[in-house]
Structures are given as C-alpha cells and as structure tokens.
Amino acid sequence: MNRGYAKRRGERSSLSFSVFFDKILIAGIAGTLFLFILYPVAGVLMRSLKWNGEWSLYHYRNLMTLRNLELIRNSVFVATFSSINATLLAFCIGVFAHFKKRFVRNAIYRSLMMTMISPPFISAIALLTLFGRRGLISYGVFGVTLNPYGWHGIVILQSLSGVSLSAIMMMTGLSQIDSRLFLAARDLGANPWSTLKEVVLPSMVPTVLSVFFLQFTMNISDFTTPIIIGGRYRVLATEAYLRVYAQANLNGAAAMTVLLLPPAIVAFYFYRRNMKRVHTLSERAKILEMESLNFKLPKGVQMLTGGVVAVFFLINAVQYGNLFFTAFTRNVSGTPVFTLDHFAVFQSRHVDALIRTIYMAVAAALLSTMIGVLLSYYHRRRQMKGFGVLEFVGSIPYIIPGIFFGLAYVVVFHRGPISLTGTLIILILNCTFRHISVGNKAANAAFETLDHKIEWASYDLGASKIGSLLKVTFPILRPTLLVSFINSFTASMTTVGPLLFLVSPRNLVTSVLMFNEVNSGRYGQSAVIGSALILITFSVNLMAIRLLSAQRRRGK
C-alpha cells in the first residue's frame, strides 16, 4: 500500500526539484553500489574462470583437494576459536564496565576506542618481541622459551585484537537493556548472580551472537595474523594471499577466495538474522541511569571480569608501551639505546602520505557513512523495492578478504571509461565501499528506534522528502552518523590489505608505508609511523566523540 502510494506520488509531481533530486540519490546509490562493489567483485571472480588466457574451470578443478579442505577446516577452527574468545573477553569487559559508575564506564569506553586502533601487525610484532622464543618477558624475565608459532599464536592474537570492538558493542548492547529488568529480577528474589544468569545473559544473546559472527567474518578473512605467527599452520586466507602476493597467481587465488565465501556467507546470514532480533528487543528498551541503583556484581564475577579488564588493558599498555619504546630506541648489540633516528623516516613523501591518508580516510568515512545511512533510509524508511538486495550487496566487501577487494578494483578500473589506477579517488572509493556495511547496520538499528511519525510530521509541515532527510532525519541520526564515521575512519586509516595493490608512487598511504617498513624489518621506523597513525586516529576519534556528546547533551 505504501509502495503504490509512493509510486503514484512520483508520477504526479515529477517536475519538482526535490523529487528529481530524490530520484538522483536513489539512482546514485543503486548505481554506485553496482559500479563499485558488484562490478569489481564480479570482475575479479571472472578472472578465476580463466587459465592461460582461455575460459576454463582449471582453477576450480584444482580447488577441491584434500589440502584445501584441510585449509578450510583450519580457517573455520581458528576463526571460531578466536571469535569465541574475543566474545567472552568482551562480554566480561562489558559487564564489568556496565555496572560501574559513569566515569569508570566512560574511561573504559575511551580506552577501548584507543585499543581498537592498533594496526594489525603491530600487535603481532609486540607479542613476538615480548613473548616470542626470545621474548623480553618470557625469556628475558622468566627465562622460559615459548614457541608462539602455530594455531595457538593465531588464536591469541586474533582474540586480543577483536576484543576492543566487541567490548564496545557489548557495552552498547548492555546499555540498551532496560535496567529496571535487573531491579525486577532482584525484587523477585534472584540474587545478583542469578540476575546475571537469567536476565543479563539472555537479554544479551542477540548482541553476543552478532559480536561473535562479526568477529568470525573478520577472522576468517584475516591473513596478516596467520602469516606472522601461524608457523606451519596455514589457513585459507593466508594461502590465497600468498598466491597473489608471492606467486602472482591472481586467477587461482581468486578461485580460492570463492572457497572462503560459503562459511562467511553462512556466518553473515546468522549475523543478519540476529541483528534483526536485536532490533525487536531494543524497541522497548529504556535507558535508566545505573548510577542511583543499588546493584553490585557478585563477588566472583566482579573479580573475574575485573581481572579480565586489568589483564586486557595491561597487555595493551605493554603493547603500546612497546610500540612507543621501539620508536625511540635502537638496538645496539642487544641493548636498547635511546635515539631519534627513526624519526628520520618522515621524509617529505611520508608527510605527504600522512596528509593524503587523513584526507582519504575522512573522505571515505564521510562517504561510506552517507551511503550506508541512505541505503538504510531507502530500505527501512521508504520501503524501496530492491534495497534489501542492495543492502546485501553493500555488505559483500565486508566478508571477502581485503586484498581481493583491492585487486577487484585493479581488475576493472585500470582502463576504459573509468580509469582510476594510481589516483587518490580509487583509494577513497575502495575504503568507502568496503565499510558501507558498518554505517548501514548502525543506521538500521537507529531507524528501528526512531519514530516513523517524525518524518511524516515533516512532510506534513511542508518539507519535501529531501528536505526532511536533510533537516530532520540526518540531524536526529547524528550520533549514529558519528559512530559510523569513527568506525570507517579508523578502519581506513589502518587498513592495508585492499590498498596494497591500489597504491602507486603517486597515491601512497601511511598504512602501506608502515607495512613496507615492517616487511623490510625496520621495526623502529614502523613503530614511529604506527605511533603517528594511532595518535592521529585517536585524536580525530576524540574530536568526533566530542561532537557526539555535545549533541547528546543538547538532546537531553
């Protein structure tokens, strides 16, 4: 009924500018999603159907080997294990933080925001320097020789690196539970422990599941960690990466990525389903300040979760400490000596790259937020046909390994009408479309709680569709826009995989430069770049949070 109404509406007033603009937006979103997601992904997959320049299933015929099955098994095993760990740890941190005073909660939230930024390989290197076979702590302090190489190394690192984002999601999830439920449970005789078990836990099921599956999709397509610390343990993503990176077997690697899709899609399906459940629950959610409530966690839980928080932040402190320490020291025959030499790495091309990277990340974050939110707006609010499919298209880049999304762009945008290789635009586009899913999901959740009537009211008061989108919907969604911005910005600043093949001397970005420094073993220099990346990303994020809380204060 709504659809018929929208259709007739369009026919009658097709001359008005705002209706025209609305159409442009709709076409623009649909068009860009096809052009910058579907087309490149299809392009790279087509390559897997070629062998020696001929159409052939050669790469697929060689795919179903025992070896590859083992790789899939390894991938699924490691990703599952790591994701369970990260989810558990994050849950502990979330629970601990949620039942603390507001300033403690805010402090934890901000720290999580900071630890979220670590570029992937930094933590791996920190782990090796500290806990490797000759680690400063394992060997240096405790005198034991640990062998971190193998699946356990991958699991440890992936678990740790997923905790920050997961814990932030957990905190958001917990804050959406009506806290009177905790009171009600205790009122009905449940002690704090039972309350946790019977009320907090079940209420968190949707959040927990979506955190888990988000982690799972990220881990299964992660190739950096297994490369650095996997030892003889190989996973599919690594194998696909190496085929491209070391063996220049692009077509075979593309075929291999196809193997990664089924588990990722299954996981993604569950993720989507559970996100829907989150929505139906959050509709009735009321946030009551925990401050005034007399609720203390049971002693055991308090100690356990507090311990997790302490250990997690200790590990991160050590990791970041190590990073900054490495940035300022030089190893002279085994003893670290203070030096500023590594800062010499900042030649003009690095400074250029840094500025370019910030520019790129800001642009990509803004764009992906806009597109993600609009996608959600047209799907959820305007009930446009086909936008459900577009939403799925928007999430494809999230579930395929980054390098393929990068290569996909190289494959289709190196010639023809849209020749973009070597430009800044291709980087921005790539980052933009890779992270659309985040803003889209956030907006979906926000729209679910935002009264539909608000938009009706603005039409009723004479604002056009676009007018009310700009003057009403976006301003109200500002907190969501900012959260999405932070997410995409952070990811764009630190991501390497997809950009590796898109950078040329003219459009170098900092994360790739750091990756190169790490690869050539110049840890001091990479630490300097890494520190700069972290500081800049953190500052920009803090600025965004400022804006966000300013908005919140006004809203109250």
């Binding site: 076979r133 000759r134 062998n147 220049a248 003009s348 010639r415």
Partner: protein, 340 residues
Amino acid sequence: GDNGEEDVSVNEEVTEAEGNDVEEMDEEQERPFEGTVLELSVAYGGADGSFEAFTEETGIEIEWVSLSTGAKLSQLQAEEGETTTDVWFGGGVDSYFAARDLGYLYQYRSPEFDNIDEKYLDPEGYFGALSLVPFGFIVNEELIEELGLDMPETWEDLADSQYDGEIIMADPSISGGQYAILSGLIQVMGEDAAWEYWEAVNENVDYYAQSGGEPQQKVAAGEFAIGLTAIHGQTFGLMETAPVVGIFPSENIPWIPAPIAIFENSENKEAAKVLVDWYLSEHGQDILMEADARIMANRKVAPPEEMGTLNMDQLIDFDLERMGREREEILGSWKELIGE
C-alpha cells in the same frame, strides 16, 4: 604529484651547476629530461639511498613505492600490463621472466649490457641486471654459544641434527630467493642428492617463513640460531645491531641477479632508458653499491668490502632459464617433501 618546494630546490641546484659550467648548451642537452618524473616499483632494499644522486645528476625525479615482485606481477596481471609505473627495480628474476613472457616488459638493450655477464640478464634486452645477491647463512653467535652448537660452514652442516628446531628458512614457494637456493643446489648437487639433503634439513626446520626477509629478522631477534638468507646491505646492517654474523658456505654459493626493466606501458621510455643506463654504468653501480652493499653486475665494479668472506669462485654455475622452467615441478616435489 609532489609539492612545488622540491621542484624549486632542484632548480636552484641546477642554477648553481650552470654557474660553474662553461658550456651552458651542453648542460641542457645532457639533461633533456629535466623535471620528468619516473615512477618506480622497487623491490631492492636500500635502493632509495641512491635516488637522490640520480636525480641530482640527471634532473629526472623518482617517485617510488616498494612492492614485492610477486605482488607487482599480480597487479600487472590484474591490470593486464597497463601499469602506470615506468621502471621495475630489483626483486626476483622469475617474476621478470613471467612478465617478459606475458609481454609486459619493454625491450631495451642498454649499451652497458656489454659490461655485464650474459648469464645475469635477458640477452634480448627485456631486463638487465643491477647486482647479484649471494645466499648464505645468518647466524646468531650468542645463541650458538648458549646452546653449545657449532658454527655451520657448509650446506651439509645444516642437515646435522644438533640444529634441530634452530634453523629457519623461507618457504620456497613464496620466497624467490629461497627457491633459488633450492633450485641452485639441485643444479649443482644433482636431483637425488639434493632432495635427500633437503629432507634432512626439513627435520631441523621448525616452520617455513612466509617471506624471504623473515629468517634474518628472526635470527637477529634471537628466535632461531641459523637462518638461510640472501646476504646484502640489510644483513650487514643487522650485524651492527645484533649479535649476528652473515656467513657464506665454503662452497656452492647460490645467487640471483637483481634485475631492472622498463614496462611496456611506460610513457617515459626515453627517460627510463636514461635511468637504466645510469644504474648499469660503472658510476651508477658505485652509488648503488654505496646504498646497499651487493656484488654489482657490472664487471668493472669490485665486490664491496663487506663481502670480505665471499669467494667469488664458489658462486655456483646457475642456469636461470632452467630455474624458471623447473619451478612448478620442483615446488611440487617440495610440497610433498614437507608434507603439505
């Protein structure tokens, strides 16, 4: 693009040079590519140290990105050779063979080829050779002492069970250098003997590194006692900061050339030729050797001092074309050997 400041500073230097020079016209003719920007894809550790000198002398500016040759080849395939890069600088020679066969490289036989052994380069001129990278061991002396191990001297020593778990080498299917060692030893030892040998070494290897540069980092960090590695400037750098030493085996030293090539798709081929000529010339080679100590391809340039222990006679007689030809077969056997 670059910012204007650099252009200005370059121009200033030029003015200075002009002031000192008597023949202004000549100067201009010698620098016909003043201000041209060449884009390089570099897989030659430390090479950037020489770019400034090149720009100063030729007026050609260099912008570069470092990318492993395997990755570059993938990228080339993805963009069907239509790269925006002009020159490919260093890296694994097998990728150059593949790129040549795919038609991505520009045929240019530099006049300097005459000073370079034909073995090192493509005789038809699709790529030249900048230098040779010899392979050997990197050993953590502290660790050797602590574990009470002997210093390894020959390839055979590595098969000794005393080194169990203390040897690290890269996966030859990933690292071109490691593949060169494998293929080289097969060429000199004969297939059967070589495979028997690698089987024994495999027993001592904990895991295979995922990049050619990793073994020396791991040995320097004290994680392993012995690493198989290319020995060049980076290795010598490590010897200053870590208790490690690079050792050449007393016989059968494998090597690979570090090639240089112009891309077929380059729009600055003339300037690129100037670059190739400059880097293959005795003068350019000296400067490059300064930036990263290697055995230079041009026979007029003597090996660097750092290579003191290297006995040039022990470099194996290496058939690069055969190395490329046998790649799939050898790597297949390798995978079987390590049980994948």
